[in-house]
């Protein structure tokens, strides 16, 4: 009992002191930087003689030396690269260095398929994709191919083969936000369309009225199929 009593006494004598500055914590794991609004700046180390920035054509940005100001970018993963040139005139030598940063625009990428918050009644698989018709032409090409490709193995092909038959057709739809579906012949799709959406485009899946998924439409067909296959096999 004596060692324990001594330790207890020591703890009682220690007076807690609030730290003046937060201690730096390091996160070591699978993390992502999420950009929620624009503009944002990406700053390269100073000291180079020239900076050559590169980014996708869908990004609106302006650059002044080592600072790139991004004014607009589509939702999704974005990588910005820079090549920096240092000229040593005396030695007549050019030294190139380069850097890159990747971040997520919009909301954090979906962690993957998981149990949905609210599947709707209806046997079998039902899938709804909702998009913003005003921004349809702004969708990245890869994301647009999710909703338009009819090739074998495409998302449309998968949904046609796997979804439940309702009113004579496979029960999937790709609808613009804000439409009137009140007289559409599929109750599951109407119920899914009536659910709240945090953003567009949006994916809703319901399986057998017992499980489901809803979340942002992934960036490409492969990621979308991975989620669909979780429920539709």
């Amino acid at each position: 009992m004596r060692p324990f009593a001594t330790t207890l006494t020591l703890f009682c004598l220690i007076v807690p002191v609030r730290a003046q500055a937060p201690a730096p914590l390091v996160i070591d794991g699978n993390t992502v930087t999420v950009v929620q609004s624009f503009p944002l700046t990406v700053t390269a180390p100073k000291g180079s003689d020239a900076y050559f920035w590169s980014y996708p054509s869908s990004v609106t940005a302006s650059e002044v030396d080592n600072v790139l100001t991004v004014k607009a970018a589509p939702v999704g993963k974005l990588t910005i690269r820079v090549k920096m040139l240092v000229v040593d005139w005396k030695a007549q030598k050019l030294t190139w260095t380069q850097g890159a940063t990747t971040f997520q625009v919009g909301t954090a990428p979906n962690p993957g398929p998981g149990p949905g918050p609210a599947p709707v009644p209806g046997a079998g698989l039902h899938v709804l994709i909702v998009y913003d018709s005003a921004k349809q032409s702004s969708m990245p090409a890869a994301q647009l191919s999710i909703i338009s490709s009819t090739a074998p193995g495409s998302v449309r092909d998968y949904m046609t083969k796997k979804c439940a038959q309702v009113a004579g057709k496979a029960d999937w739809a790709i609808w613009p936000d804000g439409g009137d579906a009140s007289s559409y012949p599929s109750a599951p799709l109407k119920a899914m369309y009536g659910r709240p959406r945090q953003q567009l485009p949006w994916l809703v899946i319901s399986k057998d009225g017992s499980s489901g998924y809803e979340g942002p439409l992934p960036a490409d067909p492969a990621a979308t199929l991975a989620i669909l296959q979780k429920y539709g096999g």
């Binding site: 054509s57 018709s133 005003a134 921004k135 349809q136 032409s137 702004s138 969708m139 090409a141 647009l144 191919s145 909703i147 338009s148 490709s149 009819t150 090739a151 495409s154 449309r156 949904m159 046609t160 009113a167 004579g168 057709k169 496979a170 999937w172 739809a173 790709i174 609808w175 613009p176 804000g178 439409g179 009137d180 579906a181 007289s183 559409y184 012949p185 369309y193």
Partner: protein, 309 residues
């Protein structure tokens, strides 16, 4: 004549367009049917510069890559047409049956493509249910935007309540009107600040819409015809696939003329259209316009349609 070797579609260009104006095919005269410029719209009153329609444009530098990708992915509206018909098959072409009702059929074809894109079931829409009431059952020309505006207010009946190509006044019933209201156009990409005859989109706006799965209603003065715009076609990349009527590959000079590759507006891009002369015309009712012949004199895009059976 020239045609695309891969698809068998006719290519209508500066050198051959005359043979496609009201042609006689298999003994039947295929009518066009946009009206000549009416008295209320005299020469010069057309607004040549389209007013702003706030479509976010796809950069023209991406056209070629996007078209190539859409072909590979079978993601063109012409591909979607092949899956949106009865039983998941091809949507049949509309057939105006020799009447000057192209302007009503072009909008209906656009709605059919849009419905197929969104996964809605096939509806056998009858364009005569639009044209007949507007023209008091007379065989008269019109304008594409005129037909679309009717669809905004009144919709379009299916053949269940208005048989295809029927001009009977007895088709107008309460049941037919209720049927039509299930197929109203709820939003369009159009300059609504001007009259129907003046609604234009730039060629870049047209290409952007088609690359975004929005079918368009396109009117052509040279053809006196209204057709549904379906896909942009990258003619500049089709040198080895462009053939003459005799089946031989076009020479470089012929190729450049067919696709009008130096055209300052289209720059070698063509426009795949879906005609309303039945499936027997060209390749399953679809053909390609190039150069000045591909630049519509009036154009509106389909943005949304009521979500219904």
């Amino acid at each position: 004549m020239a045609y695309l070797h891969t698809t068998g579609e006719v290519i209508i260009h500066e050198g051959n367009y005359r043979q496609f104006v009201n042609p006689t095919i298999d003994g039947e005269t295929k009518r066009c049917g946009t009206v000549p410029r009416p008295a209320t719209h005299p020469v010069g009153c057309y607004t040549w510069a389209p007013k702003a329609v706030d479509i976010p444009l796809i950069p023209s530098g991406e056209y070629a890559a996007r078209i190539t990708d859409r072909i590979a992915q079978k993601a063109q509206l012409s591909d979607i047409r092949m899956t949106g018909g009865p039983g998941g098959g091809m949507i049949p072409s509309r057939d105006q049956n020799g009447k000057g009702y192209c302007w009503a059929h072009s909008g209906v074809s656009a709605v059919l493509l849009w419905r197929a894109f969104t996964g809605m079931p096939y509806a056998d829409l009858s364009a005569y249910s639009i044209a007949c009431p507007i023209k008091n059952f007379a065989d008269e020309g019109g304008w594409g935007a005129q037909g679309v505006d009717w669809q905004v207010k009144n919709g379009c009946a299916t053949s269940a309540t208005w048989p295809q190509q029927s001009m009977s006044r007895s088709n107008v019933t309460n049941a037919e009107k209720a049927d039509a209201l299930q197929h109203v156009v709820t939003a369009q990409w159009a300059d609504l600040s001007v009259g129907e005859y003046d609604r234009k989109l730039t060629f870049d706006q047209l290409v952007t819409l088609l690359l975004s799965d929005c079918p368009c209603v396109t009117d052509f003065n040279w053809w006196s015809h209204s057709v549904c715009g379906a896909d942009p076609v990258n003619g500049a990349g089709l040198f080895s696939l462009t053939r003459r009527e005799d089946g031989k590959l076009a020479t470089l000079q012929e190729f450049e003329a067919i696709w009008d590759v130096s055209n300052p507006v289209t720059a070698g891009l063509g426009l795949r259209i879906w005609n309303s002369w039945g499936d027997s015309w060209s390749q399953q009712g679809m053909g390609v316009l190039t150069g000045n012949k591909a630049t519509p004199d009036s154009c509106v895009g389909l943005r949304s349609v009521k979500l219904a059976a």
